[in-house]
Symmetry: C2
Subunit: 230 residues, 2 copies
């Protein structure tokens, strides 16, 4: 178990080819002062995956973290524009997202993915392609009724009318994550509180380092004890 | 035509949604102090694409640039492991590399691609998916005789014996780039000289900023005129 506060030593110790001229993931992470990973958001349509992912990215960016969001907008219209929504294509969609995420991890970037990704098997298959600590599964939990009430894109209404088939939560299953690293209930937490919780996890597990200035300034305002190691 | 030395103002001026909370390519580039782009290496097997790309990445990393190399090693074994070497698959291979490169540009990363990519049409199709200044085509030129003499992987010998079919330069065409941004003849330049030339191009066109300390220290040793704007 990696402890809080030792991020730079963790990055250093994992770099076994420092003398090599090749630029490795470890060197990129060292430059970026972070440990790259996939932050995998999963949850029903309307649960708040994209909202929380975007708010998280905003906060991470303020902390000088190097991030990128993969979502339907940039993946389905580009790399996966040859894929439909049948079973095979859905699997291939998640496979490619996993492979691209792996490249981003290798590039030293914290990659946030925002897809319903309803099946445990698919999520696990991505988890298996990376190192143990490089996959952070975040279950954005929200009761179906609440998601349906929000219905930002009007998709639930269409699914209820039968205009959309195989809609997750209506006529297609959503398998809740068995052991997600983080669980966020957006019907109970605000966006800010959700992000706070994720940031705390990422800091506690040495993915990011909340920078000295921020922590010092918080300490000055009494939000953190003065003894906190900065 | 973007002039040297104004990289941060170029990045700033292109950021039209600064008030938005969304983290854009421009904000990522601003954080990274670079303008992300695809550095597309093309050339015969054995011409030195990977060698130059790796040496370039090493130099860019020393300048704190955020970089990533896409090559056969990390693409063919992962994302494109479902593709063979037939005409259709070859096209799809390049298409996906282009799409992934676009994601990296969006993520604010300088992406170096190292593939033979023998056909003008394929290279142009990638060029078209990004903004005009985001595609830097580098033709790694080297006479076939020299490549064959090097034959690091023993592939030319096999191709001559007919053990490999459709080998570029032997029984499959290589179309020289019509208007590459940079042309490097590795039979005449050393690796260092090749990298120098590319770095100069990237600096002259405001992709990267050779950092103040380096330039100042060079100036101290009289390698740059003291009047050089730093």
């Amino acid at each position: 178990m990696i402890q809080k506060g030792d991020i730079m030593s963790v990055i250093k110790s994992s770099n076994v080819v420092w003398h090599n001229t090749e630029i490795t993931k470890e060197k990129r992470n060292y430059l970026n002062k972070q440990r790259s990973a996939i932050i995998w958001f999963t949850g029903l349509s309307g649960s708040g995956k994209s909202t929380v992912a975007n708010a998280l990215e905003h906060r991470l960016h303020q902390l000088n973290a190097r991030t990128y969001i993969l979502d339907g907008d940039n993946v389905r219209h580009g790399l996966n524009n040859d894929l439909g929504f049948g079973d095979e294509d859905r699997k291939e969609n998640i496979r490619r997202i996993g492979e691209v995420s792996t490249l981003f991890i290798d590039a030293g970037v914290m990659v946030l993915t925002s897809f319903i990704s309803p099946f445990q098997e698919d999520r696990d298959s991505v988890r298996k392609t990376v190192n143990e600590t490089e996959f952070v599964e975040i279950y954005i939990k929200c009761p179906l009724e609440v998601c349906e009430q929000r219905d930002v894109k009007g998709l639930y209404a269409k699914a209820r009318k039968g205009e959309i088939k195989h809609f997750t939560g209506i006529d297609s299953a959503y398998e809740e994550p068995e052991n997600p690293e983080i669980e966020i209930d957006t019907s109970k937490l605000t966006i800010d509180e959700s992000v706070d919780r994720i940031i705390k996890y990422l800091e506690d597990h040495s993915y990011i380092e909340v920078n000295r200035r921020k922590r010092l300034s918080k300490a000055l305002f009494g939000l953190l004890p003065q003894t906190e190691s900065v």
